[in-house]
């Protein structure tokens, strides 16, 4: 029961973000009030062009969420495969280790800028590519760390000696035992993906105006923060609540309580 309670906030927020665009009372790109109008006509006031902040808030979560889910899924699947492979084949493991060491020298935001601009028409796909490339090295280490003791245990060695294919060993023998690790990893990569997608939005290299996007809203409305603070506070709270709720859900999935991964 307590476990369910830790998932509830994340599920509610994800549901709201997904259905939000259909609940929005106004269009996201037509002015309904004065620029930076205080709450009144519109429940949360107007933004820099007088558009309804509430409608843009409701519309702005869907893409952030879907892009982040895709990133977290791809990173987790790739990392699960490579991590299991590294545990079974020490040579591959060493190469992966070196690659991860190298990737750590490049801050995520810098990698994001490089990829997004090397692929100007890439839009969301460039963002996903950058997030996957920077996320996998960290994720592989988590999986290979958890997979190493299992790979060394008798039954995997027995299966290998019995002539099972590498493919079979990875998907049938190793990964089913790493479900908890992989689920927790998915949660953590989702938090990291929201961070990257939101930061890209804030740096204006992901979604372009007039698209509604929480990170973009924070950036765009900074100038009028004193006139209508809600235009900045509401999307800030939305991003904060989403990442925190998902983080708690990921914690609930952690394989060993009380130990950070």
């Amino acid at each position: 029961m307590r476990r369910a309670a830790r998932f509830a906030p994340a599920l509610i927020l994800v549901g709201l973000a997904l259905t939000g665009p259909y609940l929005a009372p106004h269009s996201i790109d037509a002015p309904v009030t004065m620029p930076y109008d205080a709450p009144g006509t519109a429940p949360l006031g107007g933004d820099q062009l007088g558009r309804d902040v509430l409608s843009r808030l409701l519309a702005g979560g869907q893409e952030l969420l879907l892009t982040s889910v895709v990133i977290a899924l791809v990173v987790t699947v790739v990392a699960a495969f490579l991590g299991a492979l590294a545990a079974l084949r020490p040579t591959v493991g060493r190469i992966i280790d070196r690659a991860a060491d190298t990737a750590m020298l490049l801050p995520t935001v810098l990698a994001l800028l490089l990829v997004a601009l090397s692929w100007p028409g890439g839009g969301r796909y460039a963002l996903i590519a950058a997030a996957v490339v920077t996320g996998v090295p960290y994720a592989v280490r988590v999986v290979s760390g958890a997979a190493a003791p299992i790979a060394a245990s008798g039954y995997v060695e027995a299966a290998a000696a019995g002539g099972e294919h590498l493919w079979h060993l990875i998907w049938r023998e190793l990964l089913p035992n790493l479900r908890a690790t992989c689920l927790n990893l998915f949660g953590l990569r989702f938090v990291a993906a929201v961070y990257i997608v939101a930061t890209a939005g804030f740096l204006e290299i992901g979604p372009q105006p007039p698209e509604a996007n929480w990170a973009l809203m924070i950036r765009e409305n900074g100038a009028g923060i004193l006139l209508n603070p809600w235009a900045v506070i509401a999307p800030s709270l939305a991003i904060g609540a989403l990442t925190v709720a998902v983080q708690f859900a990921a914690d609930a999935l952690a394989p060993r309580p009380g130990r950070a991964t």
Partner: protein, 313 residues
């Protein structure tokens, strides 16, 4: 002693090799950008001949491998090449890097001190109210992106309470004009990293408390503080050092965002501008310096781990 020197040399060589690989990757990545520095620095509407001439001036007509080799041989002497606008890259970086190192260094110091204090405070009474409050707050903090923290801090502390300046202005030497201008950027950078490292330390301390020699120390009647500082903390330090080292990358990456928000005169703003101009030498130089800084901290963390495990063995 000789063994330790060999170990140190090995660690150094490995970090240096990784750094060279990273530089090659970054240099190649920037080369694949569709626009180039020649087009972004000539006047709009210039003829194809003018662009070609500019490319020749900048040396962009030579093969990538030749340019990379030429650039790499300059790096050890401190020559990072010239930017697309003709300024020495080392000068551009030299003018902005100290500001970023000040910002990042303060944020890192705050991260280490605050997470040490909070992690220990939480671990002293496991399961208590203080432990639960600190652990929950740390989880909330680590999930928040820097620009969200920064926006809320600016609104509350700068605009409503009017306690601190919301933007940075520089004095004649290029430094922030007042120390108060550093408070908000440092806080906005450090909050998430304090959360992250507090959790790592808390978990590592919990593992150490489960060790038999700690039980023995507690049974001997040593004070909780002495048990913590003498018997538990040393064992948790390798994990903490590794966690803090990964924070450095996040802190340096975060400066790109934070410097934009606070208009802070550091290398983050230089990187953002250089990517816009497709200015390969500037990006490669900034990445070299950032990567070298991170490699240095990772090396320190390796040394702390080697020292701590050697001490225990």
């Amino acid at each position: 002693m000789a063994r330790q020197l060999t170990l140190l040399a090995g660690l150094l060589a490995r970090r240096a090799a990784l750094l060279v690989v990273l530089l090659a990757v970054v240099f190649a990545a920037v080369e694949f950008l569709p626009g180039d520095a020649a087009r972004s620095t000539v006047d709009r509407g210039s003829s194809a001949e003018a662009v070609a001439q500019r490319q020749a001036e900048l040396g962009l007509d030579r093969p990538v491998a030749v340019r990379f080799a030429h650039w790499m041989t300059g790096v050890p002497t401190g020559d990072l090449g010239r930017s697309a606008r003709g300024e020495p890259v080392a000068d551009i970086i030299g003018a902005h890097l100290p500001n970023t190192l000040l910002l990042g260094g303060l944020a890192f110091a705050l991260t280490v001190c605050a997470s040490l204090a909070l992690g220990c405070a939480a671990a002293l009474r496991p399961g208590g109210l203080r432990d639960r409050t600190i652990s929950t707050t740390a989880t909330v903090a680590l999930a928040l992106p820097e620009f969200v923290v920064a926006s809320v801090l600016v609104l509350v502390l700068a605009l409503w309470a009017d306690l601190l300046p919301a933007v940075t202005t520089t004095d004649d030497d290029g430094w922030p004009a007042s120390p108060t201008m550093l408070v908000l950027p440092v806080l906005a950078l450090a909050v998430a990293q304090v959360g992250w490292n507090t959790r790592i330390l808390r978990a590592a301390l919990a593992d150490e408390y489960a060790a038999p020699h700690v039980d023995a120390a507690i049974c001997d009647g040593l004070s909780p503080w002495r048990v913590l500082t003498r018997h538990v903390l040393p064992g948790a330090l390798p994990s903490f050092a590794a966690g803090a080292a990964t924070s450095v990358g996040m802190l340096l990456g975060g400066t790109v965002v934070i410097e934009t928000i606070f208009n802070y005169p550091g290398i983050g703003t230089v990187i953002a501008g250089a990517v816009h101009d497709r200015d390969t030498p500037v990006i490669a130089g900034a990445t070299a310096v950032t990567g070298a800084a991170i490699a240095g901290v990772l090396l320190l963390s390796d040394l702390v781990r080697a020292w701590a495990t050697g001490r225990r063995a």
